[in-house]
Amino acid sequence: MGILDFFKNKPKNTANVAKERLRIIVAQERAQRGSPDYLPTLRREILEVIKKYVNVDPDAVLISVERDGDQEVLELSVALPEKANAALDNG
């Protein structure tokens, strides 16, 4: 058993780790690519407005520009805290 374990004990598959990390970062960078540079400011200002009414987490506001054929869609998603049970998800 001990000897078998010794032979089975392969080093961690680092290639899979690399692939997973790349998959995430590349997807993230592709999403940002070509998006207008006013997005971060817009996001911050929207967050400030929302905070006047609901106490949301700073990470709760997601904003992105999606391309759908010839159209560009500004996608805005706000996750409300658990108390407010109405989900808000407007485009």
Binding site: K12, N16, K19, R21, L22, V26, R33, G34
Partner: protein, 275 residues
């Protein structure tokens, strides 16, 4: 403007440095010339000229790319004719200027001149990075060979380059159809892939989402070739050379199975007799 449709411009690019762009440019250029194509290979790395060394013509550089752009010589004077193939010409980068010496108009002028001279292929050897030299090397391209090592930083940088190819090229700007993108994996080590230490061809392809034009195995032949100034494609005894030969065939539309991508069994005998 005015680059003829008969001339195909191929940029060899990567984002990251040291992955094998110049080695690839030299071997693709030689491979195409070997098949009778009229080929010019241009070093866009102004200030860090190296293609001349890899091609083995470093002592024959009189005029360079920037001299032609600045009308300090004719295109004909600056083109270095390869000693091995009559239809292969090298245009060296300037060693003394900085990268601002390259302009879009200047590069256009040189490429148009080559097209008018009846060149079939122009290979643009891009510098590393995404600055001016790299941007101009890709701007006029019809096709791009993206050189990638199966390693995280190289793959990520290549994806950035793919984004630029899709937006910052003449084809993208004119809406002339996308620059055709080819993935060329270099320094591929099948044994390390099998042991899980290196990403596989499929892994890299899945992340980048482009078609593979070649896989060059890690090989001692590459260093030996650059030491000698003989592009590795001319070393028929090296797997890297043969893999470049296959890549050239695929660039020209032939379909060839990938070679040298399976792990070698490491028996004692093969360890003794291989290497």
């Amino acid at each position: 403007m005015g680059v003829g449709t008969l001339t195909e411009i191929i940029v060899v690019t990567s984002g990251k440095g040291g992955v094998g762009k110049t080695t690839t440019s030299a071997s693709l250029a030689v491979g195409l010339a070997k098949r009778g194509k009229k080929v010019a290979v241009i070093d866009f790395d102004v200030g860090l000229r190296n293609l001349d060394l890899i091609m083995g013509c470093e002592r024959r550089v009189v005029y360079d790319f920037v001299n032609v752009i600045n009308d300090e010589c004719t295109l004909k004077q600056a083109l270095i004719k390869d000693k091995r193939y009559d239809t292969l010409f090298i245009l060296a980068a300037s060693q003394t200027r900085d990268k601002d010496a390259l302009t879009k108009e200047g590069v256009d002028k040189v490429l148009t001149g080559l097209a008018d001279d009846g060149f079939d292929f122009i290979i643009c050897d891009s510098p590393a990075g995404i600055e001016k030299g790299a941007a101009l090397a890709m701007y006029f391209a019809d096709r791009a060979v993206v050189v990638v090592n199966p390693e995280v930083s190289s793959v990520r940088d290549s994806d950035r380059i793919l984004g630029l190819l899709a937006s910052k090229t003449r084809r993208a700007e004119l809406g002339n159809g996308a620059v055709e993108q080819h993935l060329l994996l270099t320094r591929y080590n099948p044994n390390r892939v099998e042991s899980g230490d290196m990403m596989s061809i499929a892994d890299v392809q899945e992340i980048l989402g482009i078609e593979v034009v070649g896989v060059i195995p890690e090989s001692e032949g590459v260093l030996a070739a650059s030491n000698a100034g003989i592009p590795v494609i001319l070393d028929e005894g090296s797997n890297a050379g043969l893999a470049y030969e296959d890549s050239v065939a695929r660039l020209l539309g032939e379909s060839r199975p990938l070679r040298f991508i399976d792990a070698q069994k490491k028996s004692l005998l093969s360890r003794l007799f291989r290497s």
